[in-house]
C-alpha cells in the first residue's frame, strides 16, 4: 500500500487545458479529456453505443468514429485523448462511411425484430441505423446466427434475473452492462462468457442477476438485449409521457423519471443528477412506483362498525373523527391527543400535520420517529447535533478517506454506497467500515472492522484515544481530561472490549488524521440503538479531534434514513424543537400550545396509562416497523380512538377505528428534503386511486370537520413550508470533548444468537411489500444467516426456521415466528438479520425497547 503523501502528489495535478478544433470550432478542454468529451461539451453530436458518462471507455463498438487530421485512419473519439492543435471532423464523408460500415457489421448479426422488441422507440441502434446505416447493398449476405438455449422453442429470451430478460441475438457486445456492474456497483453477477461472436452475456453460473442495482443494467443497455420483466410488453415508449420524480424511500433523494400514459404510471427510470445519484438508482426506487398501481391499496375510508371495517364515504369518516376528537379534547384536554407521521410523506403533508396538531388542536404531541425507541428528550442532544450536520453526497466521491460506522450502507443509502465505491475506484480513496455485522462494503473497504455487538461507542472511543495518543488530534481541542471522560479510558481496554485490535484502530486513526477531506458516516445501527446518544457523543469526539465539526475539513454526520426525515426535522415534527423553530411556528400558527409535548416513547407509555386517549397515525406503521411489537400493539389497543391513514392495510390499521386512504407519491405534486437538506420536487404521474387523497388534503378535511382551516390554497401552505426550511438553522454549540460512558450489555444466554430486524435488501419500510417486482427479489420475510452458521445448523436457503425469543424480560418472552432462511454470502459470524417489511411476519416481536441487542434461538423445521 502506498503512503498517503505520495498518493496526494499523484492525484492533484494543476488543471491544464488543451485546445483543439472540432468541425472548425476552437474548443478547449481539461487535459486528459477525450475527443468525445470535447464534442459533448460543445453539443456536437457523435453517435455512441459502448460509451457511458460514468464508466471508463473501452472502445468496444467503434461507433464514435471521428476523422482527425494527420491520423491515417478514423479514430474512436471515446478512447482518444484530446491533444493540443488537433483538427477533428465529426461529420465528414469518411466518418459517415465508417459509421455506416459499423452499423452494417452490427446488423449482420442483429435480428430485425424491432416490432417485438421492448426497446423499440428508444433504441440507440434504431436511431443510429436510421441516421447512418440505411442501405440495402450490404456486402455480406448469410444467415444470421440464432443464439438460443432451447432448439425447440421459437423464442430466444431467457430470464436471467428476477426482473431481467436477456435476448442474446440482440446484444451488440458493448459490455456496458458488465462494466457498470463491476465498476460502478461492485457486483459480479453478470458476465460475458465464451469468446468472439459466441460471446454471451449471462448471469454468473448457477446464479441470477439480482443485485440491488440490476435495473440500471437494463436501462443502460443500448439495444433490447436486456429488458425488464416489469416493463415487458406493457406499452410503447412513444405512447408515454415523462414526469420528474424523486425516490420516495431513501434519504439519498435519487432523481427518477416516471413514464406515464393517460391511465397510470408504467415505469420509473433514473434522471441523472450528479449531486445525488450519478444516474444510478436502486431497484427499490425503480420498482417502488408500483405502490401507486398496486391492487392492495385502500380505495375508500374504512370505519370500524361493531368490529368489522366498513367502507364509507369521506364525509362519514370525517364525521366520526371530528366527533370523537372533540369528545376527547373536551373531556380530557388537548394534550390527550397525539399524532405520529411517517417521514416518507412530502413536506406539505408534514407541515399540515404539524399545523393540525399544534395550531388547530393545541397539542404538542407530534413525532415522526416511530421506528425508534428511547428517543432523546432535550433539544440539544449530541445525536441531534450530529444528525443535523451538513453533508454532501457528491463530496463523498471526492473525499480521500471515508469512515463508516454502524451502517449497512447499501441497504440504508444505496446512492451514498455507490459514491463511496466511486471514490475508491476513481480516486483510490481509503474506506474504513466499522460495524457489528459484515456488510456489502467489506469487499471494497481497506479494513472492515467488526466490533462486538453493542460496543459501538467503545470502538469510537478507541479511535478517539488513538488519535490523542498518536498526537494526531486537532491542536486546539483540549484533550487534558480525556481519562475522566471516557469509559473504558485506555486504548487497550477499548480494543479488548470491542474486539478490534489496537493496530487496526491506530491505522484507521492515522489515515483519518492524515486525510485532507475525510467523510465520516454513521448510520442506522447508531440511530436505531437505544444508546444512540452515547454513541453520538463518541462519534462527535472523533469528528471534533479531526477538526470536522469545527468546519476545518471534510464532513461528518449521522445520516437520516427516510426520504423526508431531514424535512420533518426542519419543519419541527417532534416535541423538543428549538426556540427559533418554536418562534417561527408560533408566527405561522394562530395559537401554539404551551405545554411540552410527549415524544413517541412517552405517547406509548401515556397510552397505556391515562395520558394519551386518541391518536392519529399518518402513513407510519409502528406496529410492524417499530421496536417491540407487543408493547406498541398493547399501547395502541388501549387508546380510546385511533385514526390511521395509509396506502394499504397494515397491522397498525388493523387496530384503528377509522382508516383513511392516502395517495402515493406518484399521485400528487410535492417535495422531499433529502439527507443533505436538498429539497427536490416531484410531480404527479397519474390520477389518485379510488377516494384516496394526498396527505395535506386529507389533513385539511379533518381540520375543516373540526372547524379549522389549514390553508386557503396550496401556494400559501407551500410558502409556509419554504419559510420554515429557509429559517431552519442546524444547532450550533461550543466544542469540547463529550463524556461517553460504556455500560456492558448483559451477557447473552447459552445458545442464543443476536438478531437485527431491518430492511431486506430489496425492500424499504412497509410499503414496498405492494411492489410485485420487488417481491420477485425478496418474496417473503427472510432470516439472513451466515454460511458458516448455516452449515453448522445444517440450514439451506429456503428452509423454514423457527425463531424463538426466550430472553425478553418484558412482553416478548416466548415469541416465536417461522421464517424462511436465506444463506447470505456477505454475513459472517452468528448475527442474524430478519426483514421487517412483511406484515405477515412481525419480526419486531423479538426486538425490545430497552436493550441494545436482541437474542433469539433458532431451530430448523424438518420437512415432513
Amino acid at each position: 500500500m502506498s503512503d498517503t503523501a505520495t498518493k496526494d502528489q499523484k492525484t492533484t495535478p494543476a488543471v491544464e487545458m488543451v485546445s483543439l478544433t472540432i468541425d472548425g470550432r476552437p474548443i478547449s478542454v481539461k487535459k486528459g479529456a477525450t475527443v468525445l468529451d470535447a464534442c459533448r461539451q460543445e453539443n456536437i453530436p457523435v453517435p455512441t453505443f459502448c460509451w457511458h458518462p460514468k464508466l471508463r471507455s473501452v472502445g468496444a463498438c467503434r461507433m464514435c468514429y471521428v476523422e482527425i487530421e494527420k491520423f491515417p485512419k478514423l479514430m474512436v473519439s471515446c478512447a482518444t485523448e484530446a491533444m493540443n492543435d488537433m483538427v477533428v471532423l465529426t461529420d465528414s464523408e469518411k466518418c459517415r462511411e465508417g459509421r455506416k460500415a459499423i452499423i452494417e457489421f452490427i446488423l449482420l448479426d442483429h435480428p430485425l425484430d424491432c416490432p417485438t422488441c421492448d426497446k423499440g422507440g428508444e433504441c440507440d441502434l434504431q436511431d443510429n441505423a436510421f441516421e447512418y446505416g440505411l442501405s440495402d447493398d450490404t456486402r455480406f449476405a448469410f444467415r444470421k446466427a440464432r443464439k438460443i438455449r432451447d432448439k425447440n422453442s421459437t423464442f430466444d429470451d431467457l430470464q436471467i434475473g428476477p426482473e431481467m430478460v436477456r435476448n442474446q441475438n440482440r446484444c451488440i457486445l458493448c459490455y456496458k452492462c458488465v462494466r457498470a456492474n463491476e465498476e460502478a456497483f461492485g457486483e459480479y453477477d453478470i458476465g460475458a462468457y465464451q469468446r468472439g461472436h459466441n460471446t454471451e452475456i449471462d448471469a454468473a453460473p448457477g446464479g441470477q442477476v439480482a443485485s440491488l442495482y440490476s435495473g440500471n443494467l437494463v436501462e443502460i443497455c443500448p439495444v433490447g438485449a436486456l429488458t425488464s420483466s416489469d416493463w415487458r410488453y406493457k406499452i410503447r415508449v412513444w405512447n408515454t409521457q415523462t414526469v420528474p420524480s424523486i425516490d420516495p424511500y431513501h434519504a439519498d433523494g435519487a432523481n427518477l423519471t416516471l413514464w406515464k400514459d393517460a391511465t397510470k404510471v408504467h415505469r420509473a427510470t433514473s434522471r441523472m443528477n450528479d449531486d445525488t445519484d450519478d444516474g444510478w438508482i436502486s431497484d427499490i426506487a425503480r420498482y417502488g412506483y408500483q405502490i401507486a398501481t398496486s391492487e392492495r391499496r385502500i380505495k375508500a375510508p374504512l370505519v370500524n362498525k361493531n368490529g368489522a371495517m366498513v367502507e364509507v364515504s369521506w364525509e362519514e369518516a370525517l364525521g366520526v373523527i371530528s366527533r370523537r376528537f372533540k369528545e376527547v379534547k373536551e373531556s380530557q384536554g388537548a394534550p390527550c391527543l397525539a399524532g405520529v407521521v411517517s417521514p416518507n410523506l412530502d413536506l406539505k403533508t408534514l407541515h399540515a400535520f404539524n399545523k393540525l396538531f399544534r395550531g388547530a388542536l393545541g397539542s404538542n404531541n407530534v413525532d415522526y420517529r416511530s421506528d425508534y425507541s428511547n428517543l432523546p428528550t432535550d433539544a440539544d442532544s449530541t445525536y441531534g447535533f450530529m444528525a443535523s450536520r451538513s453533508f454532501s453526497i457528491d463530496a463523498v466521491a471526492s473525499s480521500d478517506v471515508i469512515f463508516v460506522v454502524g451502517s449497512n450502507l447499501i441497504r440504508e443509502h444505496p446512492n451514498v454506497h455507490l459514491k463511496t465505491r466511486r471514490a475508491i475506484f476513481e480516486k483510490l480513496s481509503w474506506l474504513y467500515t466499522a460495524n457489528p455485522i459484515v456488510t456489502k462494503s467489506a469487499d471494497c473497504s481497506t479494513d472492515e472492522m467488526i466490533y462486538n455487538l453493542g460496543t459501538d461507542e467503545v470502538f469510537l472511543n478507541g479511535v478517539t484515544l488513538s488519535l490523542i495518543q498518536q498526537g494526531l488530534a486537532d491542536k486546539e481541542v483540549d484533550t487534558g481530561k480525556i481519562e475522566t471522560l471516557l469509559i473504558p479510558n485506555t486504548l487497550e481496554k477499548c480494543a479488548e472490549t470491542c474486539g478490534v485490535s489496537v493496530e487496526r484502530i491506530n491505522e484507521c486513526a492515522k489515515r483519518l488524521a492524515n486525510s485532507k477531506s475525510p467523510t465520516l458516516i454513521a448510520g442506522e445501527l447508531v440511530s436505531n440503538s437505544i444508546a444512540r446518544e452515547n454513541i453520538a457523543k463518541s462519534f462527535y469526539n472523533v469528528a471534533l479531534l479531526l477538526g470536522i465539526v469545527q468546519g476545518k475539513r471534510g464532513q461528518a454526520a449521522v445520516l437520516a434514513k427516510a426520504a423526508n426525515s431531514k424535512g420533518a426535522e426542519a419543519l419541527g415534527l417532534f416535541p423538543e424543537i428549538s426556540a427559533t423553530q418554536t418562534a417561527t411556528l408560533k408566527n405561522q400558527f394562530q395559537s401554539f400550545p404551551e405545554l411540552a409535548g410527549a415524544n413517541w416513547d412517552a405517547m406509548l407509555s401515556g397510552a397505556q396509562g391515562e395520558d394519551i386517549k386518541a391518536m392519529l397515525i399518518f402513513g407510519a406503521n409502528p406496529v410492524q416497523t417499530g421496536a417491540d411489537y407487543n408493547h406498541i400493539k398493547k399501547s395502541l389497543e388501549s387508546l380510546d380512538f385511533l385514526v390511521v391513514a395509509d396506502l394499504k392495510e397494515t397491522p397498525t390499521t388493523a387496530l384503528a377505528d377509522v382508516v383513511l386512504p392516502l395517495s402515493s407519491f406518484a399521485e400528487y405534486d410535492g417535495s422531499f428534503t433529502n439527507l443533505e437538506g436538498r429539497t427536490q420536487d416531484f410531480c404527479a404521474g397519474m390520477k389518485r386511486i379510488g377516494a384516496s387523497l394526498p396527505g395535506y388534503e386529507a389533513l385539511n378535511r379533518i381540520a375543516q370537520s373540526l372547524g379549522f382551516s389549514l390553508y386557503a390554497d396550496l401556494s400559501s401552505l407551500q410558502d409556509e413550508v419554504s419559510e420554515l426550511l429557509d429559517s431552519y438553522n442546524a444547532p450550533e454549540r461550543k466544542h469540547f470533548l463529550m463524556e461517553s460512558h460504556f455500560q456492558a450489555p448483559p451477557a447473552p444466554q447459552e445458545n442464543s444468537l443476536p438478531l437485527f430486524a431491518g430492511d431486506a435488501l430489496h425492500h424499504f419500510g412497509h410499503w414496498t411489500e405492494m411492489c410485485h417486482s420487488l417481491l420477485e427479489f425478496n418474496p417473503e420475510a427472510a432470516l439472513e444467516i451466515s454460511a458458516d452458521l448455516a452449515s453448522r445448523l445444517d440450514i439451506q436457503t429456503g428452509d423454514s426456521v423457527r425463531v424463538l425469543c426466550d430472553r425478553g424480560d418484558k412482553g416478548n418472552k416466548g415469541e416465536k415466528l417461522i421464517l424462511k432462511a436465506l444463506v447470505s454470502d456477505i454475513l459472517e459470524g452468528d448475527t442474524l438479520l430478519a426483514s421487517h417489511n412483511f406484515a405477515a411476519k412481525p419480526v419486531n416481536c423479538f426486538t425490545s425497547r430497552d436493550s441494545r441487542v436482541s437474542y433469539v434461538r433458532i431451530e430448523k423445521i424438518e420437512k415432513q
Binding site: 416490432p115 417485438t116 423499440g120 423464442f155 429470451d157 410488453y233 406493457k234 406499452i235 410503447r236 405512447n239
Partner: protein, 185 residues
C-alpha cells in the same frame, strides 16, 4: 359571358358569383324542334334501351366486385398454422392519422408478444390504408368489404376476434358455385 364577378368582400374571404346570361328567344323553328321532333326521339331512345342489357346492378341482391386495391374493412392475417401475424408492435396505431387503433400487448405461454386487445374504431377510421403500409409483419390489411353499417356505436369497434380471419380459412365453394351459376342468367 361566363365571367366571375366579385359580389361581396370581407377582410377574410371573397364571394364570387357567375354573371347570369340573358336567355335568347327560340323562334318558331326552335319551338317545333323542342316539341314535335324531340318527343318521338326521346321515346325511341327509351324503348331502344328496353331491349338492351341493363347496366345497373340490383345492389343489395347483386354486388359489384371491388377493385383489387380497394380499401375496405380491415382484417388481421394469420400464418398458415393459424397463429396470428400481429405482434402488437403499435406501428399501425402510430401511423394512423385518425387515431383509430387501440391495442394492449401481452405475452403468450412461449413468451412471444401478441395482442391482448386490438381494436379499430371504424367510425374514426378514414380508410387511408396507412396502417397496412406501416405494418412490418404483414398482419393488417384493408379488405374488400364495405357493408358494415350497424345501428350502434359499439358495433363499429372491431376487436381482435372480429378482425382476425377465421382459421382454417373457409373454402368458399358455395360462393364460387353461385357465381358460376349466375353467369347463365
Amino acid at each position: 359571358m361566363n365571367k366571375l364577378k366579385t359580389i361581396s368582400r370581407t377582410d377574410d374571404y371573397v364571394v364570387l358569383s357567375r354573371e347570369s346570361r340573358p336567355v335568347p328567344d327560340p323562334g318558331v323553328w326552335g319551338m317545333l324542334r323542342t316539341t314535335v321532333v324531340a318527343i318521338p326521339i326521346g321515346f325511341i331512345t327509351v324503348f331502344k334501351h328496353l331491349f338492351r342489357k341493363s347496366v345497373t346492378i340490383e345492389y343489395p341482391f347483386k354486388k359489384r366486385p371491388m377493385f383489387p386495391r380497394y380499401r375496405g374493412l380491415h382484417y388481421l392475417e394469420r400464418y398458415e398454422d393459424g397463429t396470428e401475424r400481429c405482434v402488437c408492435c403499435g406501428l399501425c396505431a402510430a401511423a394512423c392519422p385518425a387515431d383509430a387503433i387501440y391495442m394492449e400487448p401481452m405475452e403468450n405461454e412461449n413468451g412471444e408478444r401478441l395482442a391482448k386487445v386490438y381494436e379499430i374504431n371504424m367510425i374514426r377510421c378514414i380508410f387511408c390504408g396507412f396502417c397496412e403500409e406501416a405494418c412490418p409483419e404483414e398482419a393488417i390489411f384493408l379488405g374488400q368489404e364495405y357493408e358494415f353499417a350497424t345501428d350502434s356505436r359499439d358495433g363499429f369497434i372491431y376487436n381482435k376476434e372480429k378482425l382476425l380471419v377465421t382459421h382454417p380459412r373457409p373454402e368458399n365453394t358455395l360462393k364460387k358455385m353461385w357465381r358460376k351459376v349466375r353467369r347463365f342468367f
